[in-house]
């Protein structure tokens, strides 16, 4: 130990008998093997701690190692593989490693975005779990200087008939709305799946997109020895202690008892925090800033110091606390929400304090940047923690976990559809996989800020860059059933589908964020899913020029040894340079010709039709031809840019006929189509779109029919649009209000 105390002890004399009692309590616990195990640390990991410190840690230090080395914070099982993802490109200003990714959109504007999971807390306490998920991702974005302009989400629930599903759907949706609506950031879209594999572990992935001027971006690396470290926002309470550790373990029957580890959100304070931070960011007082997310004060201080290659000293007596007699252990591990840590330029404290006081937020100078490369904590006049930063951050444990590839599946063949194509269409449009999600997004304010010009329900949401002709298109995508059947192909497909959804509104895809949700990485087959999905995603991101600029990994989504479907949720952002050159999915004019762009459908294996009509989830997913995706995307974007087509829709879940029906419902106009086989109607072959254009416009594709009437007619049979609408509209509200 070469470190010497930085602060003279006289600066923080114990504040009375109470402080001394607290200190004593936090030092009393003997570090036993059981206590180490309770902290989620293996005996080997504990051995590394002993070596790093050259002594036995105290309880506070053990807690700090425990959260920093949790899977959630350290990415110890995933780091090795995440490196395979492409993360650079001329459009990328900042890739993974910061609070969020940053992409250039020209004219001195940039977008900052990231998606993050809040799975474990949302299962235990759906409203607060989901709400604080939104709060956390918002902070990741405005920490970097951006004003958040859109929220998205990707949700996975269990079987609709499972006794817990309705409760979880209701709570999660209310929580996302409760937070986003109050903060005043529109929730413009997302996706929701139901599958029995999520019965014991739902997925709540929240994404925020913000806009910033490129000369007003803020980073988290602390700098300037002696610069003050500032705490702002809400006070610290005992909520969420060990949230990160909880999120790094499997669930068992008694997981409900973990409710106290779920944080409680206060979106009103978050709104004030956004405004106060942006007001301070308009000055040049900030050196570095970082939100307190998972592992709260611990991870924020460690990351800031580690990134800056400096040390940090915090005086815990100065931390604003909400509860009496909090120990250093509790303060450092609390995940109380709506808090930020900043390093200011010297002498700028008063200016900053005035802004935070105007917004009625706590503001406290709690420490300073040091040259020690150690995290040092004082409390009651004594040093209660002194840890070298290396082992906490960059040199945290790294595992190359054994992984086995998922066996290839054989095509099933010999399918003999029993029903007519139009009958199956009605079934599919009202099935859990494809029915309207309107019940969900009507609970989200998707219009606040008045720049939403592509609302939920289309391929991608569109939000204007305020005061310009530019707009950002946003989508979230993943087909976990494909990923389960073939992780590599599923990984490719998730990126390809995001690419198509951005393309279908006319946007040029820019970059991607990912939220990697998987089961227990200590099982080789689960690790194989993870490695496979990464491989497919990496290929697709490179081929489609959509680098990954930010992301998050959530492992141990298992209950009693049963894992979820592998779910690499993708959030992607595209740019419309001129939002007048955009389109949507709605049929516009009777008589327009309906075209299939791409090959006729053939692939029914793993389709929604096979699942929902035949009750089977067999075979391989449709193969993805990335060169074809790219060519087809460029072609569609040109058609939209040139104003040659009147509507566009990508073909994904459900196939071509479902895409046509969705376009018909959006425009309230039917379609008359030439006869189709089930494979042509419901095959989920990739790299395909449906477009409409006036008669006479030459489209390179297959003419399927024309827009018009009040039904979908396929050859000689037809079904009324009203029947499709009823099935599509009512399924979700019916199960939620039953």
């Amino acid at each position: 130990m070469t470190h010497s105390p930085i602060c003279p002890a006289s600066r923080h004399i114990p504040t009375g008998p109470d402080a001394r009692a607290r200190l004593k309590r936090s030092r009393m616990s003997e570090i036993t093997p059981a206590l180490v195990a309770e902290h989620g640390l293996s005996p080997e990991e504990y051995g590394v701690i002993l070596t790093a410190l050259g002594r036995t840690p105290n309880l506070t230090e053990l807690g700090i190692f425990s959260v920093m080395w949790s899977e959630h914070c350290s990415y110890k099982s995933s780091r090795l593989h995440l490196k395979k993802l492409p993360t650079t490109g001329p459009q990328v200003i900042c890739g993974p490693g910061e609070n969020a990714g940053i992409v250039d959109i020209g004219d001195g504007d940039a977008v900052i975005f990231k998606m993050e999971s809040h799975n474990h807390p949302s299962f235990i306490e759906p409203y607060q779990g989901a709400a604080t998920g939104v709060g956390g991702i918002l902070r990741d974005v405005f920490t970097m200087g951006a004003r958040p302009v859109a929220n998205m989400n990707a949700l996975r629930f269990g079987d609709p008939g499972h006794p817990k599903t309705r409760h979880l759907v209701k709570g999660v949706v209310a929580g996302i709305g409760g937070y986003g609506n109050c903060v005043g950031v529109p929730t413009v879209g997302g996706e929701t799946n139901f599958h029995p594999a999520y019965n014991g572990n739902i997925l709540v992935n929240a994404m925020t997109v913000g806009t910033v001027r490129t000369d007003r971006i803020f980073y988290s690396a602390a700098a300037g020895i002696g610069n003050p470290v500032i705490y702002v926002g809400s006070k610290t309470g005992r909520d969420g202690i060990h949230g990160a550790t909880m999120a790094s373990a499997e669930f068992t029957e008694d997981s409900e008892e973990k409710r106290p580890t779920v944080q409680v959100g206060d979106p009103f304070t978050e709104k004030l925090l956004i405004e106060a931070c942006l007001e301070l960011m308009a000055t040049d007082a900030i050196v570095a800033i970082q939100d307190m997310g998972a592992a709260g004060l611990t991870s924020s201080s460690v990351e800031m110091a580690d990134k800056g290659g400096v040390g940090i000293h915090l005086d815990l007596d100065k931390v604003p606390c909400r509860e009496e007699a909090m120990t250093p252990y509790e303060m450092m591990l609390s995940e109380s929400q709506e808090r930020m840590l900043m390093v200011l330029k010297p002498g700028r404290e008063d200016e900053a304090r005035r802004i935070f006081e105007k917004w009625e937020l706590d503001f406290a100078v709690i420490g300073e940047v040091t040259d020690t490369k150690h995290l040092v904590l004082s409390f009651g006049g004594e040093t209660v923690c002194d840890i070298p930063l290396g082992p906490l951050g960059d040199n945290a444990p790294l595992y190359d976990r054994p992984h086995v590839p998922t066996p290839a599946r054989q095509p099933i063949g010999g399918l003999a559809p029993r029903n007519g194509v139009t009958d199956d269409l009605v079934t599919l449009m009202g099935c859990p996989a494809l029915a309207s999600r309107r019940w969900i997004w009507e609970q989200y304010d998707h219009m606040v800020m008045a720049d939403t010009i592509g609302r939920p329900g289309g391929d991608a949401a569109i939000v204007r860059v305020h005061g310009t002709k530019k707009a950002i298109a946003i989508t979230t995508d993943c087909n976990p059933r494909y990923c389960f059947a073939d992780p590599v192909e599923g990984g490719r497909q998730a990126i390809a589908e995001a690419y198509r959804n951005l393309t279908a509104v006319g946007a040029t895809p820019l970059a991607t964020t990912d939220c990697m949700n998987f089961g227990n990485p200590e099982r080789p087959e689960i690790m194989g899913q993870f490695v496979g999905c990464i491989e497919g995603m990496a290929e697709a991101c490179a081929a489609l020029d959509m680098p990954i600029v930010s992301g998050n990994v959530s492992l141990y989504n298992e209950t009693n040894g049963v894992g979820i479907l592998p779910t690499p949720a993708i959030g992607a952002v595209g740019l419309l340079k001129d939002y007048d050159r955009r389109t949507d999915i709605a049929f516009k004019t009777a008589g327009d010709v309906i075209w299939l762009v791409g090959a006729p459908g053939r692939h029914l294996d793993q389709s929604v039709w096979l699942w929902q009509v035949e009750g089977r989830e067999d075979g391989p997913p449709p193969p993805v031809d990335l060169a074809a995706e790219k060519a087809m995307g460029d072609y569609i974007r040109n058609l939209i840019g040139n104003g040659e087509i009147t509507a566009a829709h990508d073909i994904s879940d459900g196939g071509a006929l479902v895409a046509v029906a969705e376009m018909a419902l959006a425009g309230d106009m039917g379609a008359a189509l030439t006869p189709m086989s089930h494979a042509e109607a419901f095959g989920e072959d990739q790299a395909r779109y449906i477009v409409t254009a006036p008669e006479g416009v030459a489209i390179e594709g297959t003419r399927l029919g024309t827009v018009g009437g009040a039904s979908i007619a396929v050859g000689g049979t037809q079904v009324g649009l009203a029947d499709i609408r009823t099935a599509h509209r009512d399924w979700l509200p019916d199960i939620m209000t039953r």
Partner: protein, 220 residues
């Protein structure tokens, strides 16, 4: 026209309102912090939507006690024009400038969607550019928009032509489908739907423009 948009902690439609007033009503707009005790000399005071004070206690209740609200009450009594949208409407009932209260939606859920409104009163500074009996489409976004007043008050509102807009389909359980009301003198309008959100084609409609063009004509 000169307009002031009052900003409370937790307001989040303040910018949207300012943009609509500037772009459509061609107003000279200034933002006024809730802590101000005096109002600038303006023709229109706008109380924007949002979640002032996080909707804690009751929607609009804490904002109604803000320093600036005493000045708003006084200005309204003097005949200055006041527009309250969504949370702004809730503040107007909380201060008693308008009668009644906004309760939790009958369906208990937050609701955000375009709704058809019937224009009941096509006159005055706010509604003069709409057609009486016509239907306009304006979005709502609220959790507490269920208008309540006693029968006597409701009869009075009807009798005096003070109901400005009614929902043309069920939305939140409002008494007599009330979406917006005026004070007796006609210089104060409170409404739950957000006209400032549909003022240009790209937003998906322009039915909100009429309110701002009418204000421009009436207030210069």
């Amino acid at each position: 026209m000169k307009a002031a948009v009052i900003v409370f902690p937790g307001s989040n439609c303040d910018r949207d309102m300012a943009v609509a007033l500037r772009d459509v009503a061609k107003a000279d707009v200034q933002m006024v912090w809730h802590g101000e005790a005096d109002l600038p000399d303006v023709d229109l005071i706008a109380l924007p939507g949002g979640f002032s004070y996080g909707d804690y206690l009751r929607t609009g209740a804490i904002a109604a006690k803000s320093p600036v609200m005493a000045a708003v009450v006084k200005a309204a009594a003097q005949g200055r024009h006041v527009l309250g949208v969504c949370n702004g409407f809730q503040m107007l009932t909380e201060t008693g400038i308008l009668p009644g209260a906004l309760l939790r939606n009958a369906g208990l859920d937050y609701v955000c969607r375009d709704v058809p409104l019937t224009v009941e009163a096509a006159d005055g500074a706010f509604c003069g550019d709409y057609e009486a009996g016509g239907t306009i489409r304006i979005p709502v976004a609220h959790h507490d928009g269920n208008y309540f007043a006693d029968e006597g008050t409701l009869d009075e509102l009807e009798g005096e032509g003070r109901i400005a807009f009614r929902y043309a389909e069920p939305v939140n359980g409002s008494a007599r489908d009330i979406a917006g009301i005026r004070n007796r003198r006609g210089n104060v309008l409170g409404m739950m739907p957000h006209p400032e959100r549909l003022v240009d084609r790209d937003q998906g409609g322009t039915d909100g423009r009429g309110l701002f063009t009418a204000l421009a004509k009436a207030l210069g």
